[in-house]
Amino acid sequence: MPHVLLRAAALSTALIASTAFAQSSGPIKIGLMLPYSGTYAALGSAIENGFKLYVQEQGGKLGGREVQYFKVDDESEPSKATDNVNKLIKRDNVDVLVGTVHSGVALAMAKAAKDNNTLLVIPNAGADAITGPMCAPNIVRSSFSNWQPGYAMGVVAGQKGVKRAMTITWGYAAGAESTKGFTEGLEKNGGKVIKDLTLPFPQVEFQALLTEIAAQKPDAVYAFFAGGGAVKFVKDYAAAGLNKTIPLYGPGFLTDGTLEAQGASAQNMLTTLHYADNLDTPKNNAFRKAYAIAYKSQPDVYAVQGYDAAQILANGLKAVGGDLGKREQLAAAMRKTPVDSPRGKFTLSAAGNPVQDMYLREVKGNNNEFRSVAVKALADPARGCKM
């Protein structure tokens, strides 16, 4: 009996020693929690491709350590999010979480990351709350907050002389955050939103609301939709002849990855986002070329966000020599070090959200072409963040 006890004790000491050891050497365990099935599957694989491309460019290492991946399909399903994230944290014991696309799932991940003090890099989900009330030193985002593109479009609309605007979106958090940003940007530039139209997610029967827009005759309309909803709205808007008299504005998601389906109805539309298809910078050109060679397809904004997620993480790990134990230095370095992104250089705010240029883009053919910088170095207000 004492034998067994002794052995168990020896074993557990060895285990503890080995986990402590794993903090600074051996492979760094990265948990990718992304949508690999369902509506957002294409986005999930673009993000993973971008992330891995950056790691490959560094010789397969981050902060001098090999990288080991663990993958979980989050299915964009908030009700399964907590279970899924715990698989990575508790079962696989990952050092870093990367994910995800859907904001509801990302909020659950942020909560779990906060509770377990696990590093979390968010490569898309734009919920304002993640770098607002939920903000934490160990949580950063490589993409955007919903507020950002909306605000930039509001500024552009105001400068174009829009006095009375209407907004239309699904009645859910992302839509409300985006249109709120637009309203703020517009009001600061001399315009006003006369009415916010909403319909339940994910309904796509817009005709009644289009008639309402036609009756009110605003100077411009700001719409937030994505995927199938974005395609249908833009087409219905053009079919109703409204695009001839009332310009339709939106965040980039209204016309990103949907142009083939939107066809002629989206031509010449203006949108704002932190990326454009034809940014002619050496960094972007090199990135697009490398991505096309590695994956035989053209990168999109999601691939860029995945690429930058890896880059932000690398910045932090480099500063501490791969030692994840030095949390404070790591968190500070991730925020302070400029990110050399294909979209242009940016840094992170204290809350962990990119402080980045917002571009005004115009739809030409199947591309969202760069027109001008709508707002330079735009920072999310990070309302409610106490750190």
């Binding site: 099935s37 369902g38 509506t39 599957a41 294409a42 009645g171 916010d196 139209l197 909403t198 319909l199 339940p200 994910p202 309904q203 796509v204 029967e205 005709q207 009644a208 609301l209 289009l210 008639t211 309402e212 036609a214 009756a215 995927g227 199938g228 974005a230 395609v231 249908k232 087409k235 219905d236 079919a239 109703a240 002849g241 409204l242 990855g257 949907t258 083939e260 389906a261 939107q262 066809g263």
Partner: protein, 290 residues
């Protein structure tokens, strides 16, 4: 709201209602006559839309031919599906029906993902239905929407004629009210069911094909349609075609004007309507009376 706007909104409501009817009529047939809860009905709608997308390059402007070809394919598919799966369900309870048809949703979604991918695709409307006309100086109304409404009306009338005036229709009506008696009278109920099921699938697919140029095709497009269709079927009275027509128009009006006047509550509107109708008439507007 002035009169012109009001009339345009009424037009929107009727148009939406008619399209709903086309999907819901197939569901009410299958649900009412065969007693099968068919959750996969939304997938048949999606199937139709993707058929329209896949067949478009082959038929070009031969739009009506494309519709006929798509409907024929869907009917054959429905016939085979009934033979392979649904024919085993009639004697079983609702839970097993729900399990099988839910599994079919997953299978169809995955097949779609493998065959076509997860991108959104536009489906071209035929060029002879392109463009639109001015409506009261307010907005343009696409000809294709007018065509879609007309097509739905034609199908509704044809369905009425088949169910009320033909021998097959008589058997369907009889089967809906008492299937054992019909079997006792020597009608081959299995074949009848197979035909009804194929017809239901064809109706849903036709709705999908007609809706495709308006809605584009995208993953999970059947899910939201399915839920609204169940609302329509329950309001109209399970198994009743006339009830489904009245209910779809009601839902169309409640949804359209709900969005305009009670934006915050518009998601609740149709369910409120359903609750009120069910309190008033627990079996729906029409009691299996067609």
């Amino acid at each position: 709201m002035d009169l012109a706007t009001f009339l345009v909104q009424c037009l929107n409501a009727v148009q939406y209602g008619l399209l709903l009817f086309l999907v819901a009529s197939g569901l009410t047939l299958i649900f009412g006559i065969m007693g099968v809860i068919n959750l996969a009905h939304g997938s048949f709608y999606m199937l139709g839309a993707y058929l329209a997308f896949a067949l478009a390059p082959w038929f070009g402007d031969w739009f009506v031919t494309r519709l006929v070809a798509g409907v024929a394919l869907a009917a054959i598919f429905g016939y085979v599906l009934e033979w392979a799966f649904f024919s085993f369900l009639y004697e079983r309870d609702h839970l097993q029906q729900v399990l099988l048809t839910y599994a079919l949703i997953l299978v169809f979604e995955e097949l779609r993902s493998i065959l076509v991918g997860n991108d959104v695709h536009g489906v071209p409307a035929p060029s002879w239905l392109g463009g639109g006309f001015r409506l009261g100086g307010l907005m343009e109304y696409p000809w294709y929407r007018v065509f879609a409404s007309a097509a739905c009306l034609v199908v509704a009338l044809a369905l009425y004629a088949v169910v009320q005036k033909t021998r097959l229709g008589m058997m369907i009506r009889a089967g809906a009210s008492n299937r054992d008696m019909v079997r006792g009278l020597g009608v081959d109920i299995r074949r009848l069911y197979r035909i009804v099921f194929a017809g239901g699938v064809a109706l849903a697919a036709l709705a999908g094909m007609i809706a495709a140029p308006l809605s584009s095709v995208y993953p999970n497009m059947g899910a939201s349609v399915l839920i609204i269709c169940f609302v329509v079927v329950v309001i109209g009275g399970i198994g009743s075609i006339t009830g489904a027509l009245i209910a779809s128009l009601l839902v169309g009006f409640v949804d359209t004007f709900g969005k305009v006047f009670f934006a915050e509550w518009s998601g609740v509107g149709i369910y409120l309507l359903m609750a009120i109708v069910l309190v008033w008439r627990p079996e729906g507007l029409m009691k299996r009376g067609f």
